[in-house]
């Protein structure tokens, strides 16, 4: 699966539909699909909301491939450099307040998947996320 979207929140729905259709043809693991849907929401919302210094139109590439008993999503965007792996996890078992909610999406993402890799190359963010389906 390879799709390209514009940097608009309304495009996320299209990505979910394409991903779900693709993923259901590759695995029966509903839980893994649901978790990757959450990841898609978090990553794209983050890029679209915080990723650009200008108000212009940008493109975001999303691919999904089947790995060894896994699904692997790759996000590529030309936004400002942002490595989610450098964000600290929210403290465990602590009551969440609105002041701490800034990192909630990334915290969720890190805890729902099995593999995250980040690279900045050719002035673009490359984020690779894998989820086991066994």
């Amino acid at each position: 699966m390879h799709i390209t979207i514009k940097n608009s929140i309304s495009e996320i729905n299209f990505v979910h539909k394409c991903f779900t259709y693709f993923a259901k043809s590759k695995t029966e693991n509903e839980s893994a699909i649901q978790k990757l849907c959450i990841v898609i929401d978090e990553v794209l919302t983050n890029i679209i909301t915080h990723g650009y210094a200008d108000q212009g139109e940008h493109q975001i590439d999303i691919t999904c491939e089947v790995g060894d008993d896994s699904l692997v999503l790759t996000f590529r965007d030309d936004g400002v450099p942002f490595n989610p792996l450098e964000m600290e996890n929210l403290p465990p078992n602590k009551e969440v307040d609105s002041a701490e909610l800034g990192g909630l999406g990334i915290h969720l993402m890190k805890n729902l998947v099995d593999q995250i890799e980040y690279e900045r190359k050719n002035d673009m963010n490359w984020l690779v996320i894998g989820k086991n389906t066994t």
């Binding site: 996320i12 839980s31 929401d41 919302t45």
Partner: protein
């Protein structure tokens, strides 16, 4: 087309909001408006039933956090029930299981409310 549906039903004079489908950045605004409307409409007891919810992202969690705060200001109480395994895991990972009254099903949520 939205991937989320909502409806409200009365159970023992308590409003129960059912949220179905995907609760994400696209759909969170609608749920936020509906909850705000129900709370400001004077419902001091409210149950949110998630038995048909597919998944929830942080945008959806923020909606429940905001509703919970508003409800407390109105001196009311919000209960959430019927989370599937993925939604429950998201609540646990984010620490939301510590701030919400969560029940296995609607019957338990209504019990003693």
């Amino acid at each position: 087309m939205s991937t989320m549906n909502m409806y409200v039903h009365d159970s023992n004079a308590i409003k129960v909001l059912h949220v179905q489908g995907d609760l994400n950045a696209n759909t969170a605004g609608e749920v936020d408006s509906r909850l705000h409307q129900l709370i400001m409409g004077g419902n001091k007891k409210l149950i949110v039933n998630l038995d048909q919810l597919n998944y929830i992202s942080s945008a959806g969690l923020r909606v429940f956090l905001s509703a919970n705060k508003l409800m407390k200001k109105q001196e009311g109480n919000l209960r959430i029930c019927s989370l599937n395994n993925t939604v429950k895991e998201v609540f646990d990972i984010s620490g939301f299981h510590l701030i919400f009254d969560i029940f296995d099903n609607e019957e338990e949520a209504l019990n003693g409310y």
